[in-house]
């Protein structure tokens, strides 16, 4: 187990190094270079030269990389000149709100998707199974933003049941203080994920139902309920843990669309606004943070899987 941990953490570190190199290389691809993106098109050559030297963009790439990584390790993710705010404080302000959205959406989708996936596998080829299969096919093919637009159209514009936008506030407490405004974003977000969990759970339970241990359990006189929930369900749940870890990029992307559609003031909306203003420090800082979260998520999922499933060999 210790050897496995060391090897797996080593892999994760290598991946992090590769990814940060790619992200830093992106900076140099900005039209006219990073300094021009910062100063705008009317900057004089003298200004460009001055700021290029000031920020160290004239140094060799590896020196820039080491300096940049060093700063990040000290918690300095850059400074947004457009917002006049450090990227770290921007994250501190917006991340809690995004976490509220992602967490609520994920929990709702898991609570719906897992039991319904089990139901589909047990009652496969029934009408209920076909209906749910149809819904999850729709879930796979519907763009998140379009579903969000439909919800706004139906429940906010036409019927005024829910407000169309989340409260535009800088504090997470205001967001939580208006739960009605959270309903539509959370529902839209959960629909995106529901298809993923229920399809996965359905095939996983179906695979497990033909395993030898199920026949053994039945032969020993276990009731159908014990077989499903005591044996099959627990085995299928293990793989959901891995899927959850691997789905982090999907979760991040989903959050961006939902936040833009509902004007929800989280990291996704801030990232989108930064893209419109070519605020590259924010773009880089957020991307590095999301990537690091994904790498750590994958690592935890792997370790969790190894601990939950004794058949995994290290």
């Amino acid at each position: 187990m210790i050897g496995f941990l060391i090897r797996r953490i080593g892999q994760a570190l290598i991946v992090l190094v590769i990814v940060t190199i790619i992200v830093l290389a992106l900076v140099h691809l900005f039209p006219g270079g990073p300094v021009k993106a910062l100063l705008g098109p009317r900057a004089t050559p003298q200004q460009l030269a001055y700021y290029t030297q000031l920020y160290g963009f004239d140094k060799p790439f590896y020196e820039q990389y080491i300096k940049w990584v060093g700063q990040m390790l000290q918690g300095n993710l850059g400074y947004s000149d457009k917002l006049n705010q450090s990227v770290t404080s921007l994250i501190g302000q917006d991340l809690p709100k995004t976490i509220v959205l992602v967490l609520l959406g994920t929990i709702v989708s898991l609570l719906l998707g897992i039991p319904l996936g089990v139901y589909q596998a047990v009652r496969r080829y029934s009408i209920g199974d076909y209906v749910l299969t149809g819904i999850s096919f729709l879930g796979y093919a519907t763009p998140t933003f379009f579903f969000g637009l439909l919800l706004v159209d139906w429940f906010a514009v036409r019927t005024h049941i829910f407000p169309p936008f989340a409260p535009n506030s800088s504090s997470v407490l205001t967001i939580l203080g208006d739960p009605r405004a959270l309903v539509l974003p959370v529902v839209a977000y959960a629909f995106l994920l529901f298809a993923l969990w229920s399809r996965y759970m359905r095939s996983s339970v179906m695979d497990n139902l033909v395993q030898d241990y199920v026949r053994t359990a039945r032969a020993k006189g276990a009731s159908e309920r014990q077989v499903i929930w005591g044996h099959v369900f627990r085995n299928s749940l293990v793989s959901i843990v891995t899927l959850l870890g691997l789905s982090l990029p999907t979760l991040v992307a989903g959050a961006i669309f939902i936040e833009v559609v509902f004007n929800y003031p989280g990291m996704g909306l801030a990232f989108y606004n930064a893209a419109e203003q070519v605020d590259y420090q924010v773009l880089l800082g957020f991307t590095v943070l999301a990537t690091a979260a994904t790498v750590v998520g994958n690592l935890l999922a792997d370790i969790g899987y190894a601990m939950l499933d004794p058949r995994v060999r290290y």
Partner: protein, 304 residues
């Protein structure tokens, strides 16, 4: 022992394979595919939508290059069957033009991603060892990049034209294909017929291209079908965020980019529902086809 003569009829009854029932591989796979009603509906819809987008403009001619500010937001009528958008473009004609971009970019991105990913995964899996370890760490890194965020950055950096979009989307899709094909290659390379190439003195490249890849072709085609649907979705997402192809060109996602603004006021349903529904139906069709193909290829393996 007594002489026992067995007639051909009896042989057939005993279960020996009748010669005429052995049909071609493509034919058998098609049979399984055709049994799947949903897949046929999907295939039919794809044929329809391709004709609609590419031949439609011949019969329904509209001006899709200059704005027409007199007719902004006009409701559906005899002259404009689906009305006009906020710049006076005919909406039905725009659906055709946008569909061309969406389908072309979707197909091309899938082709680029699957070709490159396949080659990369096959090489990595076949050579194994250090080569495999290094190549797969690159794939791991790629899979942990939040693709949408980097695509947004890429759209800021490059002027988004259809060609740029094709490669931008493909760059993020090939990682998953590479990992899948690598897994397939790992199991295939231990098979006897691949080992035999080595014994006869064939090069490694030859065994990958001539023996491993043709046997992984089922997995690859299925993956390519899903890749088309995913690429169309990704393109529509970027279009919605205002980062798709630039006007006057458009795609189905870009047609929805001002969607929220339309929702207030005069309720112009023709601006929101048609492009959204076309995206959904096209992606569902490709997913149906991909599912049926997976069944078709698996059955082929079982019947062998």
């Amino acid at each position: 022992m007594a002489n026992v003569t067995v007639s051909a009829d009896e042989l057939a009854q005993l279960g020996a394979p009748p010669a005429k029932k052995r049909r071609g591989l493509v034919r058998r796979s098609w049979d399984v595919f055709a049994e799947n009603r949903l897949a046929l509906v999907g295939l039919g819809f794809i044929v329809f939508i391709v004709l609609f987008c590419f031949l439609g403009p011949v019969f329904y001619q509209t001006n899709q290059s200059t704005t027409d500010l007199i007719n902004t937001m006009c409701p559906p009528s005899g002259g404009h069957l689906l009305g006009c958008n906020e710049l006076g473009y005919d909406q039905l004609g725009r659906l055709m033009a946008g569909g061309q971009t969406s389908i072309e970019v979707g197909l091309a991105a899938a082709l680029v991603a699957v070709s490159f990913g396949t080659l990369y995964g096959a090489i990595s899996g076949f050579f194994g060892g250090v080569v495999d370890a290094v190549m797969m760490r690159v794939v791991d890194a790629g899979l942990s990049l939040p693709s949408l965020m980097v695509l947004i950055i890429a759209a800021v950096i490059f002027h988004p034209s259809p060609v740029v979009m094709i490669f931008a989307i493909a760059v993020f899709y090939w990682f998953a294909v590479a990992r899948l094909v690598r897994g397939e290659t790992l199991t295939l390379r231990t098979r006897e017929y691949v080992q035999a190439v080595k014994v006869v003195g064939g090069s490694k490249l030859r065994s990958v291209i001539r023996h491993v890849l043709p046997n992984a072709i089922g997995t690859i085609i299925v993956q390519a079908t899903f890749a088309v649907a995913d690429s169309i979705l990704t393109l529509s997402g970027l279009g919605f965020l205002g980062l798709g192809v630039s006007a006057p060109a458009t795609d189905w996602g870009s047609m929805l980019s001002g969607g929220l603004n339309y929702l207030q006021g005069s309720d112009p349903w023709w601006l929101i529902y048609p492009p959204g529904i076309l995206i959904i139906l096209t992606c569902i069709s490709f997913n149906f086809i991909g599912d049926a193909l997976r069944d078709a290829f698996e059955t082929r393996l079982q019947r062998r």
